[in-house]
Symmetry: D2
């Protein structure tokens, strides 16, 4: 039998948010729970986590674990902007489509400007054209201050190094800051086979959201600031947003579990491979069309209604995008 679903018997094709945590993460929680530990991030696990991130990124970093990607993105962007600023993202970006105004809330009203670009990636030309038309220094207009790109993108595609560098050069050339939403950074790093340092600060990323929830954790993300000057503001911003956990060690432990022995990349590599497998099978079926190239662990597929009905009857779970037919999401 080579019907593709056989290879995924019992599997869920729903969002990666539905997946359980890895055994290593659960084990790390148990270990972290063995006795009392200082509160609010003064614990040993958090200290180790910071060292591990510094090693991973080959750079001094300020690390701010939080419980959600929305919080990580909003905190990071707020540290890069003023309330009368502009921040730019791809139109499909999570910050634009699925955060219910968190970036505006955290920043105090900074305006988010969605831009286009093929395959869910911000177009350098679109950004340049927008910035060329912007009123830098004109008091009547909101001021361009930050750009955010998502790696892997919300379309499941990847920015190449030269693409990131070109955007970073443009952004820095205008005195602005570049943020990376790395909710699926692991899938990007695994997919590109590139060192985290190369993919981030060496390419011009100033600050990032590093995701673990979609890669084995229960609920753990981290803002990583490559510029230590951002640390003071972020510490207060995080606390004031209610995202400084009193028992932060449990957040840190979840993330650290992935950083040990490169597990985070292994988990992501597996997810990417499964996505490739599924995409190839779907394509081979002849009834499916993919909206975007499958480069990480997200698949956006168009299926005939009867096929959808049949799959659902067979117990497969996956999200359908009734409202926005062009972005039907079935990440994993």
């Amino acid at each position: 039998m080579d019907r593709p679903q056989d290879n995924f018997a019992g599997a869920s094709f729903a969002s990666d948010n539905t997946a359980p945590a890895t055994p290593e993460v659960m084990e790390a929680l148990s270990t972290a729970n063995r006795g009392p530990q200082p509160a609010y991030g003064a614990d040993e696990i958090t200290a180790r986590l910071e060292r591990r991130f510094a090693e991973l990124f080959e750079h001094d970093v300020a690390v701010f674990p939080v419980a959600t990607g929305t919080a990580a993105n909003a905190l990071a962007l707020s540290a890069c902007t003023t309330p009368w600023g502009l921040m730019y993202s791809h139109r499909l970006a999570h910050v634009n489509e699925h955060e219910a105004g968190a970036p505006e809330f955290y920043s105090g009203g900074t305006r988010l400007v969605p831009l286009d670009g093929p395959n869910g990636k911000l177009s350098l030309d679109a950004l340049k054209s927008e910035l060329d038309a912007a009123g830098f220094g004109v008091v009547h207009e909101s001021q361009p201050q930050a750009v955010t790109i998502t790696q892997a993108s919300e379309a499941g595609t990847l920015y190449r190094l030269d693409e990131i560098r070109a955007i970073a050069d443009l952004v820095h050339g205008r005195g602005m800051t570049l943020h990376m939403d790395g909710a699926r950074f692991a899938n990007a790093a695994a997919g590109l086979g590139t060192a985290p340092a190369d993919l981030t600060w060496r390419a011009g990323i100033d600050i990032m959201s590093f995701g673990a929830t979609k890669n084995g954790a229960l609920a753990a993300e981290a803002v990583i600031a490559f510029d230590p000057a951002l640390a003071t503001s972020l510490a207060f911003r995080r606390k004031r947003a209610g995202h400084l956990l009193s028992k932060q060690r449990y957040l840190s432990a979840q993330i650290e579990a992935g950083l040990i022995d490169g597990r985070w990349l292994g988990w992501a590599r597996h997810a990417n491979a499964m996505a490739q497998h599924l995409a190839q099978g779907l394509t081979a079926l002849g009834v499916a069309t993919l909206d975007f190239p499958v480069e990480a662990n997200e698949i956006f597929v168009r299926l005939p209604e009867p096929v959808i009905a049949g799959l659902e009857a067979d117990g497969f779970a996956f999200p359908t995008a009734a409202r926005r037919p062009t972005s039907s999401s079935s990440g994993w």
Copy 2:
């Protein structure tokens, strides 16, 4: 030997935030992790949690699990106020002293007015006198809208039913809303031996923060709205604040673990008993003075410097309040 510390060998007298989670909570996490579950609170555990809370409080409730008490308080207060409002708390309240402006952030600038009262409890007279002087309806003045009381209080004391009712009557009589910060609500319910319903909505509480982190969980609190009309706003407020966890089931599981078979009260009863034990021992020593009556699980004790030094030399951990000598905190 009857030196009190013998009974606490190896124990930490630091904040209850340093304590590990209970085995039941850890077990609940493992159970929640057995397979995929719908994201963003559409899971079975969250559904069960809502039913359990409705039973516990003998009332329909809207439940919003979040990761921190600061978030719970700020969300709850923001739902009760407008940005040009006033909210009142005791001067020692966590919202006033230890949330770095979260209430103002979430509410969009509502002003927090700290009031006094003996033993960490808001004085009815102080509140009445403040409200009598307030400019209700006067466009030049911020508008009184909400009051928050902490149960158990930040001084480790408890509001009696008639005290809550008197405050609630005053608050409602002025068209305002009453919030309870229940970060240690379990300790209050255990200490008073009163039904949760009596301690809350039947006494006039409109909305509360229900704490689990300080009572056995890793990081889990919940906003409980007794007025369903608040639910819509809270759902958006929570998401926009980055406090809607994609894998919310893990938050719900932590809280639910406590609600099964009344464990939460048992854990709190134990903590209260230990606090009593310690307080009595300290008093018996003749060198310690207690700042407040010990009614829950917090002890605020003044010790001679040599005693502090000796305890620390023996490996006991507890916070010292160098900066604010009058509220030296050593909760547990």
Copy 3:
């Protein structure tokens, strides 16, 4: 000689913001200054202004004079939205292009979504298509709440009654609110020859900004709420924004001066006629192209560089739009 500029000898073609106030407005200020008057809008002039507006609009209205159109728009929109909302405008709208984030500031972060439409007017189809794709009630997405249209538009064009009604029906059908930026409402009313009531609440406008600064005043606009329920919130919002003037009578007097004997329409009719005259002359010259139909008192004209240089050499003042060549503005 019939070279058009002869008819405008010594005239300025710069923004109408450069024009002086009318003698009637100056006279009203002198009259208002004859003696002491109650502060903060408790004066007789303000009371008369409210009655005049009620007559003008044939409807009970709540009137909030402020010093700028930016404040009027931002206040009005903030009263129609929550911080997790969406408000829609034309891309060329003043709120989108020239208010430096005031709508976001006043609303607490509500997102402004710019839409397209020919001749500076919001396209019903574009709006419908956007609302159809919006996530009403979906907690992950900002919520559609308000639409603002500018009458006369920023392109100097006018919405017809049926166009307003169609937008209003769509907006109200989705439970949203419709605002009109009437910075040049006088020019629209004069241009269309339609009663103010027909152009506003009878066509579905819920709240508006009524402009006087560009029509004879020094600095005076008013938020006009046709729904009295909005009055309480607006009173506090205005004060909190520092836009409740202690000597509000001077604002009210400026606006009232225009409302006496229909002067405001006469002034606007004159401005419209001059714009027509100029536009026809420019077109007749054969060197000018108009970007938009001239329906009110704004002209957006493309001229050959030598003509521009020549005009400037002759002492004519007008703004050139180096940065945004497609919206070179020379309103009057």
Copy 4:
């Protein structure tokens, strides 16, 4: 007859907000209205105003005219703080009592901490004691950032040079910023006979609100920043708050009218003298008690009820403070 009220026949004892503008201010408006002028502060009058302020203060200044004192205060304080900050004022301060939350709105939620002090003046000891207890650098606590003092104070009293310097030294020593609410700065400068430079930046004032509305203008105040580094932020903050007037020249003209030939001091000297006259007469009557020393142009007087009734029957207007008997205000 020498009963004091004879000297005030027909006079109003209501707030100085009820007074008309001076002839010089009205004349300046007429002059400003003689022809078109560049918009948004690019006009000659504004340029002159800036030069006059630089001369008056013997220092480079950035000047931001706005229409209200509430706006001036809120803008100035927002430029000195972050949203997680603390700003301190006297309990009777206008920012605390009569601005409906404007300081919190403009700053994005900075908390205002009211402190005490005799005669409406901030007590150095109270401030020092508060700052000593504050958690500088502690992430759980709002951060002390700014102090505002009002000169002349809301009690009609004046800070002496050494009092200002002592507060400034304390404030700067903690890395904070000192603002002066100078809504009645003219009355203070006239009352003390001290040079404006000595009373402000030479004494340690970093930024101030300079009032004209209560001293002859219709509605005109200005934020004066002695540190040019604050100018950029303030320019955007003012625009975003809707306080950049398109025809700003009319604001500038009002303020400039006072600065010519020292008129502002003359007007204030007269007001101060009248207040002295009235206060002495009231005291001589034997039925009145003054709450505070009369040092500027405000009188807070306690009168027997029959006297109040009699005065009102005679047509005298003055505000009674039913709600807050200890601060019955009858400034002029």
